[in-house]
C-alpha cells in the first residue's frame, strides 16, 4: 500500500517538475531563442541552440489548460475539450481493436514458438526484424491494400487499416513475453506434470500459463502503449479523419495564430496512453495470486 502511494507521489512529482522546468525556462530563456551563424535577412538560417520562449512557441501551461475550455474555432462552437475527447475516444477504440489483434497474433506466435523449437528458430529473427520497419513506410502500404479490398467489394473501412498498423506494434512485446513466460516454469514443476502423465494442453493450462503471468502483464501493458502510439501515427500517415492524430496535425498547422490549441490533443493523447496502460493494470489485479513469489523451501 505504501509502495503504491510512493509510486503515485513520484508520478505527481515528475509531472510537477516538468511544468516547473517549462515555466522557468520560459521565464529565463531568450524570447527569440539563441541562434549562431544566422545570416541577417535570411529567415531560418543558422543553428538554433536555445528554443524561442515567446508565447507563440511556448504558451504558458495555464493558457494551454484554459484553451481546453474555450470554444474550438470561435463562434458558438463547443469548448476544445469536447472534440478532443470525442477524437480521443475514437482513437482509443481503434487502438483497442489493434491491441486485441496484436495480442491474439502475438500470443499465437508465442505459443507456436514455445511448442516447436524449430518455429522459434525460424520465426523469432523475423519478428525482431519486423519492428525495425518504419511505420511511416509501412502504413501507406496497408492503407492501399485496404482500399483495394474495399474496391473489390469487401467493405474495408479506413479505421481497420489503422487498427492493423497499431496491432503491428502491439504484437511484438506479446510474442516475446508469451514465449519467455511459457518457458518460465521450474524443472521440478515440469517433472511433476510429467509424473502425472499430463500432456501438452493440461500442462499448458495448469502450469505454463499461470507461470507466465508475471511475464505477460508487462508485455500486455507495453502492447497497450504501443497500440496507442501506432494508432496515432497511423492516423496521421494515412490521413484518417476524426481521430486525435489528425486533430493534432490540424491544430498544429494553425499554431501561429492559436499556439495553445495543439496542446489540447497532445494532452489528449497522453491521457489516452495512460488510460490504455491503466486498463491493462486492472487485469493485473485479477491475477494477483499468479504473481506470488516462489515457495521458499
Amino acid at each position: 500500500m505504501t509502495r503504491q502511494r510512493a509510486a503515485i507521489a513520484w508520478g505527481v512529482l515528475g509531472v510537477v517538475a516538468i511544468m516547473v522546468i517549462w515555466e522557468v525556462y520560459k521565464f529565463l530563456g531568450p524570447a527569440e531563442g539563441f541562434v549562431v551563424g544566422a545570416i541577417t535577412g535570411q529567415t531560418g538560417s543558422g543553428v538554433m541552440l536555445l528554443p524561442r520562449t515567446n508565447d507563440r512557441a511556448m504558451p504558458h501551461i495555464w493558457e494551454m489548460v484554459a484553451r481546453l475550455f474555450q470554444s474550438t474555432s470561435g463562434g458558438d462552437t463547443p469548448p476544445l475539450i469536447v472534440p478532443v475527447v470525442t477524437a480521443g475516444l475514437l482513437t482509443l477504440g481503434i487502438a483497442a481493436v489493434g491491441w486485441l489483434i496484436g495480442v491474439s497474433v502475438g500470443a499465437l506466435l508465442g505459443l507456436v514458438m514455445q511448442r516447436w523449437r524449430l518455429a522459434e528458430w525460424g520465426l523469432l529473427p523475423w519478428i525482431v526484424v519486423s519492428q525495425t520497419v518504419p511505420l511511416i513506410a509501412f502504413a501507406p502500404i496497408v492503407n492501399s491494400i485496404g482500399t483495394q479490398i474495399d474496391r473489390g467489394g469487401t467493405p474495408w473501412p479506413q479505421w481497420l487499416s489503422v487498427a492493423l498498423i497499431a496491432s503491428y506494434l502491439a504484437f511484438f512485446p506479446v510474442a516475446v513475453g508469451v514465449l519467455r513466460g511459457l518457458e518460465a516454469p521450474d524443472r521440478i514443476h515440469l517433472d511433476l506434470m510429467r509424473t502425472y502423465a499430463a500432456g501438452y494442453w493440461p500442462t499448458l493450462l495448469r502450469l505454463r500459463l499461470p507461470a507466465a503471468v508475471p511475464h505477460l502483464l508487462p508485455a500486455l501493458r507495453l502492447a497497450a502503449a504501443s497500440a496507442v502510439v501506432g494508432a496515432v501515427v497511423a492516423e496521421v500517415s494515412i490521413g484518417m479523419r476524426g481521430g486525435i492524430g489528425r486533430m493534432l496535425i490540424q491544430l498544429a498547422g494553425q499554431g501561429s495564430s492559436d499556439p495553445a490549441a495543439p496542446w489540447g490533443p497532445t494532452f489528449g493523447s497522453i491521457a489516452l496512453g495512460l488510460v490504455a496502460a491503466g486498463s491493462v493494470a486492472l487485469i493485473g489485479f485479477g491475477l494477483k495470486n499468479y504473481r506470488r513469489g516462489e515457495a521458499t523451501a
Binding site: 510429467r194 509424473t195 502423465a197 495470486n289 516462489e294 523451501a297
Partner: protein, 263 residues
C-alpha cells in the same frame, strides 16, 4: 507368484556433460516386492535421486532393464502406478494448499465433491487442516514438504517414491510422519522407495535398507531389518533396532570412500 513393484537389472546411468561423461549409476541390481518398504541410503552424490528419477521415468536409463510392476518404467508412469515426493516441495505458488493437494486428482478427472473430501482427508493426515486456504509462500519449509507428501499420497498409489521428504522437518514432526508413513504404507499395501540420509530413519521405516556408494554410484550392500510389521515408539528403544542401526552404519562406513557425513 510375488509381484515385483520395482525390478532393476544391470541398470546404469551416464550423464553426458561438457567435461565428459558423468557415471551416476552402474550395475544396479535391485528388486522391491509389492508392499515392501525399501530405503536408499548413501553419501551425497551416490545417485539416490538419479535412481529414483529412473524409476519414475523422468530420465531414461542408459543401460540395463527397469520394470515397474512388470511394465517398462514409461508405461508405469503413464498408468499412474506411483506417487512421488521430491527433495524440494515443488508446490505451485499460485495454488492454495488444497489446490496443490488436489492437482493430481484434478488432472485425472476426479469429480469435485469427491476431490474436496479427499483433500480434507489428506490435509488432516499431514496435520494441515487449518492451513488449506494458505498459499505456499505463507508456509514454513516443513509445512510445504508436508503438502508435497499429501499430494504424493493423493491417488493411493501402489508405489511411493520419496526423496528425503522429511529432510526439512523438525524432529517431532519427522517422527510423527515416519509413524504415519509406515501406517499408510501398511494400510494401502503400497511399496515405498525412500531416499534418506538418516540411518535411524532408514532402519525405523524399512524392511530392507539399500546402502549405496559414489563414484561411480552403485549398491554396495542390502540389509534386511527384520523388525516386523509394527513400527511404533517402543521400537525406537528396542535393542533389535539399535543393533540394526549399528549394522547399517558399519555397512555405510565400510564402503571404500568415507563420505557418509557429507551432505
Amino acid at each position: 507368484m510375488t509381484e515385483f513393484a520395482v525390478r532393476a537389472e544391470g541398470v546404469g546411468k551416464v550423464f553426458p556433460t561438457k567435461d565428459g561423461d558423468v557415471v551416476a549409476l552402474t550395475e544396479v541390481e535391485l528388486t522391491v516386492d509389492a508392499g515392501e518398504f525399501v530405503s536408499l541410503i548413501g553419501p551425497s552424490g551416490c545417485g539416490k535421486s538419479t535412481l529414483l528419477r529412473l524409476i519414475a521415468d523422468l530420465d531414461p536409463a542408459s543401460s540395463g532393464t527397469l520394470e515397474i510392476f512388470g511394465k517398462p518404467a514409461s508405461k508405469a508412469r503413464v498408468d499412474q502406478d506411483y506417487g512421488i515426493a521430491f527433495q524440494q516441495a515443488g508446490l505451485l505458488p499460485w495454488r492454495t494448499v488444497a489446490g496443490n493437494i488436489a492437482l493430481p486428482l484434478e488432472l485425472h478427472g476426479m469429480a469435485k465433491p469427491a476431490r474436496a473430501a479427499r483433500v480434507a482427508e489428506l490435509a488432516e493426515l499431514v496435520g494441515l487442516t487449518e492451513f488449506v486456504d494458505r498459499y505456499p509462500d505463507q508456509l514454513s519449509g516443513g509445512m510445504q514438504q508436508r503438502v508435497a507428501i499429501a499430494r504424493a499420497l493423493a491417488e493411493q498409489p501402489r508405489l511411493l517414491l520419496m526423496d528425503e521428504p522429511f529432510g526439512a522437518l523438525d524432529e517431532m514432526t519427522r517422527e510423527y510422519l515416519q509413524g504415519e508413513l509406515t501406517r499408510i504404507a501398511a494400510d494401502t499395501g503400497a511399496a515405498v522407495v525412500f531416499v534418506t540420509h538418516s540411518i535411524p530413519e532408514a532402519v525405523f521405516l524399512s524392511d530392507r535398507v539399500v546402502v549405496m556408494s559414489p563414484r561411480p554410484g552403485r549398491i554396495t550392500d542390502i540389509l534386511t531389518t527384520g523388525l516386523g510389521d509394527t513400527r511404533d515408539e517402543a521400537l525406537r528403544e528396542s535393542p533389535a533396532y539399535f543393533e540394526r542401526v549399528t549394522a547399517v552404519r558399519e555397512a555405510l562406513h565400510g564402503t571404500p570412500v568415507e563420505r557418509a557425513n557429507e551432505r
